[in-house]
């Protein structure tokens, strides 16, 4: 005869339950009207930002050898920390031979929206205690940031144009730099060289994340935005003596290719802020949609009114392992406070995303953008 099996209820510590049954842990919290982080459903975490004073244009490190950071930001949200640093390069634009003097090419350009905007090349790294090639998450994050910056029109292409100055050395050996936008119109030192070639800055962003604790796109985006807002571009010039230097670079048969070689040099003391398109400065917020499982609810007293439990709830600013694991549908909105949306993404999993949820998330994202803008 077998012994009767006795079933005893098992209890777990909250941390253990969160690990082994994140969905149940989540549902139990929701039935109390709270989230595991003890936030309300539509409550965001606070965001702390600082520029970290890492930039070479900042007061601390202006004109310091080896520092080539043009803008930076340190963003803390909950326990997650995002450090963004912007560096730059200079690239020579391909100017079609004919379009230099006339602006007839302009009208056709105008209709091509994306071609008017500048890009940023981001690389995201998330510390996870492993070494090796970037993970899929890091790669998709970088690419999403790249796409969003480009399509948002945050950086007008004009803002990246290098207005090249000319350094001339007078007979006493003193050198001075003349920039085209600073010189008087009467002072016509304008050399034909300037119109021939065109340079623009390229911007790179290095984004390092510590203590990953939920979806990262929105945190990285906001940090990148703050960093770009703090970015200052160095003034650049060429040496007068090199402007008419021509060096043959290849000789084959009778034809020689001649190319002017001159280096663009940056002034370590003079900076101009990167002018972003203020109307396109938008902030990111994320939301999760979660279905309430009626069976996982805590039993209620009989006296309680039979409340209508909503089928699914919208959670703002997804945080923590259990939330991330149990939220199957997500909404991400990049908008400014006026409702000028730059990027919207809804990914529906098993929970249904309703029109009302989309409207509500946009409404909340706008409010949040207003709050985040104030910190800029």
């Amino acid at each position: 005869m077998s012994e009767p099996v006795e079933l005893r209820p098992v209890t777990f510590h909250p941390e253990v339950l969160a690990r082994i049954a994140p969905d149940l842990y989540m549902q139990r919290h929701l039935s109390l009207g709270l989230r595991p982080s003890l936030r309300a459903f539509e409550e965001f975490r606070n965001v702390e930002i600082s520029d970290g004073r890492l930039s070479c244009a900042s007061e601390d490190s202006i004109n310091v050898v080896g520092n080539n950071i043009l803008g930076s930001n340190v963003l803390k949200c909950g326990k997650t920390m995002v450090i963004t640093s912007i560096t730059g390069g200079i690239v020579e634009d391909v100017v079609p031979a004919k379009s230099v003097d006339n602006d007839f090419s302009e009208p056709s350009e105008r209709t091509n929206r994306v071609s008017q905007f500048g890009r940023v090349y981001p690389v995201v790294e998330v510390e996870r205690g492993r070494v090796g090639a970037p993970t899929d998450e890091e790669m998709t994050l970088s690419q999403r940031l790249y796409n969003c910056i480009l399509h948002s029109g945050l950086i007008p292409k004009r803002a990246l144009d290098v207005s090249v100055g000319i350094r001339s050395t007078n007979s006493e050996g003193e050198s001075s730099v003349v920039y085209p936008d600073e010189e008087d119109s009467s002072n016509a030192v304008d050399t034909p060289f300037r119109s021939k070639r065109k340079w623009s800055y390229t911007l790179y962003a290095k984004i390092q994340v510590f203590s990953r604790d939920g979806p990262l796109f929105e945190l990285c985006w906001n940090s990148l935005l703050y960093a770009l807002a703090s970015t200052k571009l160095p003034r650049a010039f060429v040496d007068e003596r090199t402007t008419d230097l021509k060096i043959p670079i290849s000789m084959r048969g009778r034809s020689a290719v001649i190319r002017e070689t001159f280096e663009i040099i940056c002034d370590p003391t003079k900076y101009l802020p990167l002018s972003l398109d203020a109307a396109n400065k938008a902030f990111a917020s994320n939301f999760g949609v979660l279905e309430i499982d009626p069976e996982a609810q805590l039993p209620k007293d009989d006296d309680d009114m039979q409340e209508d439990v909503p089928g699914s709830v919208l959670l703002a600013d997804v945080q923590g392992e259990s939330e991330e694991a149990s939220v199957s549908s997500t909404i991400s909105v990049v908008t400014n406070a006026d409702g000028n949306i730059k990027h919207f993404r809804a990914v529906g999993g098993t929970s249904k995303i309703t029109i009302e949820m989309i409207q509500q998330s946009i409404k909340l994202a706008k409010l949040r953008a207003l709050d985040l803008k104030a910190k800029c």
Binding site: T111, N112, R113, V114, D136, M139, T140, S142, Q143, R144, Y146, N147, C148, L150, H151, S152, G153, N280, S328, G339, N340, I341, K342, H343, F344, R345, A346, V347, G348, G349, T350, K352, I353, I355, I358, Q359, I362
Partner: protein, 223 residues
């Protein structure tokens, strides 16, 4: 606008070649097969998505496409039917039909639709049918275009991709699987595009159904 053939590849379980406007993709599905140890899920079918660009080698752009496709396909597959197994979904873009360095919406939409047909061809269980469309909003913000041509896309003010989960013989919209927008737009645009897109998504799904119908007819022609 949309034309597709299934069973174009011999050595995989399911395949499909789909052309939508100037965009052409080929999709293959292999599965359920034995997964690598790190892919294995104890209770569900694991999914591996690979996208190969029409020229050059895959970069982060293709990684993002893979991520987006996985987001759409994962919830509609009957994954509980195949525990500890793997399905490999592979895409080769044959013609991009859009400026690749700036856009990827048309490729993405074509991939999602091709995935539907190839999965059906492979005979892997699906819980729902799904379909996807690209929409663009013209510069004045008024006109919404479905499946915009390359030029429309370039000139558009905002671009949107919509993938919907459909039920009841693709007549009823059950959920939004993916709705992603870029550019310059407002809440009003989002809602209008969603409404407009629902209709075109249902139409696309019916096109896809016809392809499936033709496939079934051909497969059972000897009966």
């Amino acid at each position: 606008m949309l034309s597709a053939q299934t069973g174009v590849l011999e050595q995989v379980d399911g395949s499909c070649k789909l052309q939508c406007g100037q965009t052409t993709v080929e999709c293959s599905v292999t599965g359920p097969i034995e997964p690598k140890a790190r892919q294995e899920l104890p209770a569900q079918l694991a999914l591996e998505v690979i996208v190969r660009p029409c020229r050059g080698v895959p970069t982060t752009r293709e990684k993002l496409l893979e991520d987006q496709i996985r987001g759409v396909v994962t919830p509609v597959l009957a994954r509980y039917l195949y525990p500890r197994q793997l399905a490999q979904v592979c895409f080769q873009i044959l013609e991009s039909g859009e400026p690749e360095e700036n856009f990827s919406v048309k490729e993405l939409s074509a991939c999602i639709n091709a995935a539907f047909l190839a999965i059906v061809d492979a005979g892997i269980g699906l819980q729902f049918s799904f379909a996807s469309v690209v929409l663009s909003v013209s510069t004045d913000g008024e006109e919404i275009r479905t499946d915009p041509a390359q030029l429309d896309l370039i000139e558009s003010k905002s671009t949107h991709i919509l993938a919907l989960q459909l039920g009841e013989g693709t007549q009823k919209v059950e959920n939004v699987l993916l709705f992603e927008s870029h550019g310059d737009f407002t809440e009003d645009t989002v809602l209008r595009v969603l409404q407009f897109g629902e209709k075109s998504c249902v139409e696309t799904a019916q096109e896809l159904r016809k392809v499936v119908q033709r496939k079934v007819q051909q497969d059972f022609v000897w009966r």
